[in-house]
């Protein structure tokens, strides 16, 4: 019980440290936000479509925006620690190293969800589509969790390489195809007011993906983060 307590304290300490540093520097979230808004704007001008066509592509554009912005954030998750040499400080802590993974995952999710919370209303205005739907919010949460979960694991792996900025997207995009497919299809179904049966399968895929990849991360993280 005591060791679980220490573990949770370490997870929260790492997440809090990342959030506090980001509040001071505002480097990561501002970059993710500007990038997201630019992507939404560019797609808005590039796809001069009628209303029904916009509804068909809206979910795809939304998730492309989220994933590209998320990759920007994920790229810095471990790379920043590695560059300033502070990763060793985390590795020297007397806790199970998966605490580092979960701490980093929490801070990444907070950054991604913050950006998404700003992008959604802007997207809604530009595309003339109401996105205020609790089921859609649930899908966004599941998709973001899946993307962030795998991304944090692969960011740790990519941070050990010299070409990490290029390496992360190359590793990440193929592995997250199921989560993107599930998220885009479920979001499209929700925006088109499809039957629950049509949406449920994609949500199930998201849930299963999230569970499997977090379990995989717990099993392999210790090996990935070691030299």
């Amino acid at each position: 019980m005591n060791s679980l307590n220490n573990y949770l304290k370490a997870v929260l300490a790492i997440a809090r440290k990342d959030l506090a540093a980001e509040i001071r520097s505002r480097e990561l979230v501002s970059a993710m936000l500007v990038f997201s808004l630019l992507v939404v704007l560019i797609f808005n001008f590039a796809l001069e479509l009628d209303k029904s066509a916009r509804e068909n592509v809206a979910a795809g554009v939304l998730w492309v925006t989220f994933t590209f912005a998320g990759t920007l954030g994920l790229n810095r998750t471990f790379a920043a620690e590695k560059d300033r040499g502070s990763l060793d400080g985390l590795l020297l802590a007397p806790v199970d190293r998966t605490a580092i993974y979960f701490g980093k995952l929490i801070s990444t999710l907070v950054f991604m969800l913050l950006v998404e919370a700003v992008v959604l209303p802007v997207f809604s205005v530009l595309y003339g589509i109401s996105l205020f739907n609790f089921l859609l919010f649930g899908v966004i949460l599941l998709g973001t969790f899946g993307y962030g979960g795998v991304g944090t694991l692969l960011a740790c792996m990519a941070a050990q390489t010299r070409t990490r900025d290029v390496m992360l997207p190359i590793l990440l995009f193929p592995v997250t195809v199921p989560v993107m497919l599930g998220a885009v299809r479920a979001s499209t179904g929700i925006l088109a007011n499809a039957e629950w049966g049509d949406i449920a399968m994609w949500i199930n895929i998201l849930v299963v993906y999230d569970v499997i990849f977090v379990a995989v991360a717990v099993m392999v993280f210790d090996y990935l983060i070691e030299e």
């Binding site: 220490n6 304290k9 370490a10 929260l12 300490a13 790492i14 809090r16 440290k17 506090a20 540093a21 980001e22 001071r24 520097s25 300033r84 040499g85 502070s86 060793d88 400080g89 985390l90 590795l91 020297l92 802590a93 007397p94 806790v95 199970d96 070691e226 030299e227």
Partner: protein, 231 residues
């Protein structure tokens, strides 16, 4: 106490450490010296549980590595030329963060004591990025002793410090070592190592080539020996 027996480390086919054996007793300050590429940092990273040994036995305070790495990390304090601090956090926030990672009890009181010890109480609310290299290194020592470790590892702690900051750091290292801790320090600074350590060792070509107490060892003799062994 650090006990290393027949330690070997290979990176791929390249051997870096070739059967290193050494002991650092409780309360002893040992300086490990050697040319670049001799394997000093690799040795230190193995003792710090950051790198796995290829062969051999490493024990820290009776805990085996790598099997009992979590227990080893609990009794270990590490200071390297990287401060392991976060520039966007204040001195106090940095110590609080590490204190939480190590599960330090009465953390606020302990942080106060440590900041006093390293002479940074008045700068506790300042961001570390505004610190000079010397101040950051002092805070780094505070970070390393926060959880009251029995064993300290110093990896070239004087790197990048000016003369005044180095002297201040020496005093701090002596006070840290004087508290009965085992200390293993890597350095390229022969005079400073002779002055600080109880024993000096020279690591050359992956092996301990020299091991002697500093008492009655003159700088000239040691420099001569160092030069001969590291050619």
């Amino acid at each position: 106490m650090i006990e290393i027996h027949n330690l070997t480390k290979n990176f791929g086919a390249k051997p870096v450490l070739r059967g290193v054996s050494l002991t650092v007793q409780s309360g002893e300050f040992v300086a490990l010296m050697g040319p670049n590429g001799a394997g000093k940092t690799t040795l230190l990273r193995i003792v710090a549980s950051l790198t796995r040994p290829s062969f051999g036995r490493v024990r820290v305070d009776s805990f085996d590595l790598p099997a009992q790495a979590d227990s080893v990390r609990r009794v270990l304090g590490v200071v390297s030329h990287h401060t392991l601090l976060y520039g966007d956090l204040t001195a106090e926030e940095n110590l609080r963060f590490y204190g939480q990672l190590y599960g330090v009890e009465n953390l606020s009181k302990r942080i106060e004591d440590v900041l006093d010890q390293v002479g940074l109480s008045k700068r506790r609310h300042d961001l570390v990025r505004s610190f000079s290299r010397g101040m950051a290194q002092r805070l780094s020592i505070g970070r390393a002793v926060l959880h009251s470790p029995d064993v300290m590892l110093f990896d070239e702690p004087h790197t990048g410090l000016d003369q005044e900051a180095s002297v201040m750091l020496d005093e701090l290292l002596k006070s840290v070592a004087a508290q009965g801790r085992s200390v293993l320090m890597i350095s390229h600074d022969l005079p400073r190592s002779l002055q600080l350590a109880d024993r000096v060792m020279i690591l050359s070509h992956g092996k301990i080539a020299y091991d002697a107490p500093t008492k009655n060892l003159s700088l000239a003799d040691f420099a001569q020996t160092y030069s001969e062994l590291t050619q």
